[in-house]
């Protein structure tokens, strides 16, 4: 998103321009893992919120997957009532500090903001982030009274955005909620995948802590399907189960040499860096390869996060290797822009076909092919086609394969009656996420395949209502 710093003018009337977001300077920030955008001040927030013309039929709201009352919260910001604004957002979105940072607003609310037709849309995401941070920093996050206990027990498997959302909703309805999380920390992709420089972990921790204060029980180190099955959960007296286990299994390309040392899945690379804090090795015990010449294969958000992590770990050359062109990249525009500013080198229309290792089995070179764009495929994007005889090599010492993820089969394998589709994702009967197994709901990436934080949250929210109705009718 470009910020037009100059004053916008219409009919000779002065308009307030979209307020730019102050950011860490690119040269400085590649040397640290601190957050890149620094946030609005109260003054800029008010100025920006005043740009909203309070539409009668707000386009922005129709673009929001969880129907946040956007003009409602913007009005409160414009009036300087930041806590009121935060409460307004939280009526439908329980993780605004997260969403304000990672939602693709340019494809959602801001895309449909009326101002965007002639000028720049209102910076809804930045304001969402501002009010959530304001509320947290003011220590004003309130824990609502929970209603009388219903005596119903619900197990939530997976502590990603889907699981955290449904747990919050159900506990507020008076149910007893326990989250089972396989890793040692709650948060899902928010904690292990998305880097600190884009989403500080203290924010995720604060959200998880808030749920604990609401009364949600969180059991970490509990891999369902291994420690206990879904059947065991029912046997233990849970009345309903929600599966929000994400699409966490990495996809490799199955090309020769892909198992050489120095070649990571994006999941491993980011988990080492974010969850295990390998960037602080040896203060933290987990190591990570600090490559000089790092190639990241792929063009999505995960690839951008990986390549920017590589730079911060000291890479001299950090490449994005993508088989289509910039126009087809699925990553958020803002992230591509950040990566460019930081010096990432993009190699478009390029696809690796083989890795070459040294005598110690460490990757030292990749063989690539050049591509050109052909006819559009099912996704509507033009299909990359190999240019024959175009092979060339790039010297590299670290590779991060970021070409997607798939469903982890452990839960479906150990849960009789739970149907999956041909990609291994859980089949749901309706939009509440009810599965083919009685009493079991599912939502988030494990149903849709890799999607977004807000869609996972939306799925958790819808399932919460359905589970509430189900257990109350028991």
């Amino acid at each position: 998103m470009t910020d037009k710093d100059k004053t916008e003018k219409k009919d000779g009337k002065e308009r307030i321009p979209r307020q730019p977001m102050p950011e860490q300077d690119p040269k400085t920030r590649v040397g640290n893992f601190d957050e890149v955008p620094l946030g609005y001040t109260p003054e800029t927030a008010i100025l920006e919120a005043k740009r909203c013309i309070q539409c009668k039929k707000p386009g922005c709201v129709t673009g929001c997957p969880v129907d946040v009352d956007i003009p409602g919260f913007l009005q409160r910001v414009a009036e300087g009532d930041f806590l009121g604004a935060a409460r307004k957002i939280k009526e439908t979105n329980c993780l605004p500090a997260v969403c304000g940072r990672v939602c693709p607003q340019e494809d959602q609310c801001e895309k449909l903001c009326i101002l965007g037709r002639k000028w720049d849309p209102v910076a809804i995401g930045r304001l969402e982030r501002f009010v959530a941070d304001y509320e947290r920093q003011a220590g004003a996050v309130e824990v609502p009274e929970t209603p009388a206990p219903t005596g119903k027990r619900i197990a939530v498997v997976g502590a990603g955005p889907a699981g955290l959302t449904i747990a919050g909703d159900l506990v507020k309805m008076g149910h007893e909620v326990t989250i089972f999380e396989a890793l040692h920390k709650a948060g899902g992709v928010l904690i292990y995948g998305i880097p600190e420089f884009r989403l500080p972990k203290s924010i995720v921790d604060a959200e998880v802590e808030y749920l604990r204060r609401l009364g949600v029980k969180i059991v970490t180190d509990a891999a369902i399907g291994r420690l206990k099955t879904v059947d065991d959960l029912f046997a233990e007296g849970f009345h309903a189960v929600f599966l929000g286990v994400g699409a966490g299994a990495p996809v490799f390309m199955n090309i020769p040499g892909e198992n050489f040392s120095g070649i990571y899945s994006a999941n491993e690379y980011l988990t080492r860096s974010n969850l295990m804090k390998a960037y602080s090795f040896p203060e933290y015990d987990t190591p990570i390869a600090r490559g000089r010449n790092v190639a990241v294969i792929g063009g999505g958000n995960v690839a951008m996060d990986s390549v920017r992590t590589a730079l911060r770990l000291g890479a001299e050359n950090a490449y994005i290797i993508y088989r289509r062109t910039k126009a087809e990249m699925p990553a958020r525009a803002e992230e591509i822009h950040h990566a460019e500013e930081e010096g990432v080198q993009f190699k478009f229309l390029t696809n690796p076909i083989e890795y070459v290792g040294d005598e110690k089995g460490w990757v030292k070179r990749m063989v690539c092919q050049r591509m050109e764009l052909g006819e559009p495929d099912e996704s509507g994007r033009r299909r990359p086609v190999v240019i024959k005889g175009s092979e060339f090599t790039i010297d590299i010492d670290t590779v991060v394969v970021s070409v997607g993820t798939m469903a982890n089969p452990v839960i479906p394998m150990t849960t009789p009656g739970l149907e999956t589709n041909r990609w291994g994702y859980i089949v749901t009967k309706d939009e509440t996420g009810e599965t083919t197994r009685k009493g079991v709901w599912a939502g988030g990436d494990i149903v849709t395949g890799s999607a977004t934080v807000i869609l996972a949250m939306g799925a958790g929210r819808k399932a919460a209502r359905a589970i509430h109705d189900y257990v109350m009718a028991m």
């Binding site: 396989a182 890793l183 040692h184 970490t220 180190d221 509990a222 891999a223 291994r226 420690l227 206990k228 966490g248 299994a249 990495p250 490799f252 199955n254 892909e258 198992n259 050489f260 040392s261 120095g262 990571y264 899945s265 999941n267 491993e268 988990t271 080492r272 295990m276 804090k277 090795f281 040896p282 203060e283 933290y284 015990d285 987990t286 190591p287 390869a289 110690k360 089995g361 460490w362 982890n408 089969p409 452990v410």
Partner: protein, 278 residues
């Protein structure tokens, strides 16, 4: 939090630790492992569950002190805690319907092998165990192994105890003497598992090895633990840890285990230098 209830030094650098993990203790089966993380700055490392007591709710692990984390673990005693324990992970060993099995264990691998030998014995399998160490004072679990074996052979590389030579030599002799063997389980250092697999290959004896690649999550999420078996990539934590020894690419496993050699050395030096207190 998992409280340690017992710690025994079994040999020069091999330690046994017993700690509380009641749910895992009830559920685990032979061949499975846990991933543990001592504290919030720690690394997640995989260790085999050697034994469990479902009544007391404890697990037993036996490990060789090879680096930072195992060193730190070995410093902990009764009353200390291990922050995080995830498990039971991996497929349990298939111990059904095996007439005669030879269980070959080297070094700390004897500890990993012991629960498998015991499970086989409980299923009525005739168990021949061959256990070996570099030298006598590094040998572990001799009595325990004898207790679950119909026949026990002990070797040391330096001849300080038992047969002077390698476990694979004894296996070769057993095969040459016409002993009928239905399955071999080989667990120990990578070179040992490779040699054992080479010994049994010409005889077509199904040989299972338990692989020990570097892991992170242990749930199939990262792919750190990938190995090549029969030309295909497998994730040890979910597809293993046991694989057909005749199909495993041991060279790849060896090189991948070296991936962090430099950093591991740094972590060890730092740990012993007393610069940081834990």
């Amino acid at each position: 939090m998992h409280r340690i209830t017992e710690k025994v030094v079994l040999s020069e650098n091999i330690v046994k630790t017993v700690f509380e993990a009641p749910e895992i203790a009830r559920k685990r089966r032979a061949g499975q492992f846990v991933i543990l993380m001592i504290d919030e700055k720690g690394e997640r490392i995989p260790l085999t569950i050697v034994d469990s007591d479902p009544v007391k709710g404890t697990l037993t692990i036996i490990y060789q002190v090879v680096g930072k984390t195992t060193d730190q673990l070995a410093q902990l005693g009764p009353g200390d805690v291990i922050g995080h324990v995830l498990g039971p992970l991996g497929h349990p060993t298939d111990v059904d319907g095996i007439g005669t099995a030879v269980c070959v264990g080297g070094g700390v691998g004897i500890g990993v092998l012991y629960p498998i030998a015991r499970a086989l014995k409980e299923k009525g399998t005739r168990v021949i165990s061959i256990i070996g160490a570099r030298t006598k004072k590094m040998l572990i679990l001799e009595e325990e192994s004898r207790g679950v074996s119909d026949e026990l052979h002990v070797t040391t590389d330096d001849g300080s105890y038992g047969y002077h030579g390698f476990v694979s030599d004894v296996l070769r002799d057993l095969i040459a003497s016409g002993t009928k063997i239905d399955r071999v389980f080989a667990i120990g250092p990578v070179p040992m598992m490779r040699v054992v697999s080479n010994v049994t290959r010409p005889h077509g004896i199904r040989t299972l090895v338990s692989l020990n690649p570097i892991m992170v999550d242990g749930t199939g999420m990262c792919g750190a633990c990938r190995v090549t078996v029969g030309g295909k990539t497998k994730f040890t934590c979910v597809d293993g840890p046991e694989f057909d020894g005749h199909e495993v690419d041991f060279g790849l496993l060896t090189s991948r285990l070296q991936m962090y050699a430099e950093q591991e050395q740094l972590a060890r030096d730092r740990c012993r230098c007393g610069n940081h207190d834990r």
